[in-house]
Symmetry: C2
């Protein structure tokens, strides 16, 4: 198969409304059952099953059977990045809406992007870390600097030992600037959730920053949101 045909195939896979809805639902990194995804896409289970099989075959989704359920999740951060990138490009089109990205202000403020923080919070966090020299984005996959490692150690935030791609820039859908992805980004995100710095709104990607979280982000990372 030629490169072009494969390119088209991949794009077409995302290009179906039902499949796009499922991918969108999975963009917060959680896993959902086939039935839940069918409901999210507004289609019947048989139809959803077919779509999901296609996405799994293409390597875009990973599946994890659990009892009589099958849990689907986005297969890799790269896939998540592509979907986020497509949304950014889409939002950029000025067909009708004046301002790009999601209209929900809370969603713009803070949300989960696959497995890390996005929105104003994510972008500000990335900026603060870089400005303070805690991360050092080099071409072949960024990494924490020594001071960044110390900072996370001091905060008791741990992440897998693999040095590669500890940080990864990810184009933010609404802000159209980069935010912090990669393993460090995921670690900070899960820590923020575990410690009650942010709270996930029931069944959405939206995050609410708690008062404790605002203080923690300001004190520990120097992040200050309007």
């Amino acid at each position: 198969m030629t490169t072009i045909a494969r390119l088209a195939e991949t794009a077409a896979l995302i290009g179906d409304p039902a499949r796009a809805a499922m991918l969108y639902a999975l963009m917060d990194g959680r896993a959902f059952t086939a039935g839940e995804l069918a409901q999210a896409a507004g289609i019947t289970p048989p139809t959803a099953s077919g779509h999901l099989a296609q996405l799994v075959t293409a390597g875009m989704l990973a599946v994890e059977p659990q009892g009589r359920h099958r849990y689907f999740r986005i297969a890799s951060p790269e896939i998540g990045g592509i979907v986020e990138g497509l949304m950014a490009v889409t939002a950029n089109r000025v067909d009708r809406l004046p301002n790009p990205g999601p209209r929900d202000p809370a969603l713009r403020k803070a949300r989960i992007c696959y497995d890390h923080l996005a929105g104003e919070l994510g972008v500000a966090l990335f900026g603060s870390l870089a400005k303070a020299g805690h991360i050092n984005v080099s071409p072949e996959g960024a990494g924490l600097t020594a001071s960044g490692t110390r900072l996370l150690d001091r905060l008791g935030i741990e992440w897998p030992e693999s040095r590669r791609l500890a940080c990864r820039p990810c184009l933010d859908w609404s802000e159209r600037r980069h935010h912090l992805a990669g393993q460090a980004g995921a670690a900070i995100c899960s820590a923020a959730l575990a410690r009650g710095w942010v709270r996930r709104r029931q069944g959405t990607r939206t995050l609410d920053i708690t008062p404790a979280g605002a203080k923690a982000f300001a004190d520990s990372f120097g992040v200050r949101l309007g």
Copy 2:
């Protein structure tokens, strides 16, 4: 229109084989006429015309009438990045082919990605510049460091004065690592072409590195290719 519908619409636009072929043909940043693109996609001019109209309406292509021809080009580097990213994700799928990306070794070695250098050459260039401290990828759009500016000045390579996004990382399709995009990347690319460091193969994205180019890249940028 909902976010999901727009996401699907954008992806579906790339997801048609004929349109994907046209976008692929335009990925080297040059502009082509409607007829040329029709031929590239293997369809008749009327059909191509319809596809091109869709892409222009969606803001993915820009059109420039010139006499009785209409020249089409990719509307923005972001669009090019998405297409390149989709190819990277596509190549990542291990459905049949063992190694990702293009099979043509010359295409892997050096090629044009929208308006900048890609392939082994592009990745190596990015790495050398970063290692030498000539570029400093910070979150909100990378930039040349002072030494990077001096380097380009010394080489007589000029680029538009806009500081923002002078450099931009772009995921390399075949290497799966970043290469140098943005205005500095474009400037270096055009200088490399103008000075005969690389030569474009007739009608393709493939670049051949000339002996003079190999020397120039090694001496000026510290780039050394196997």
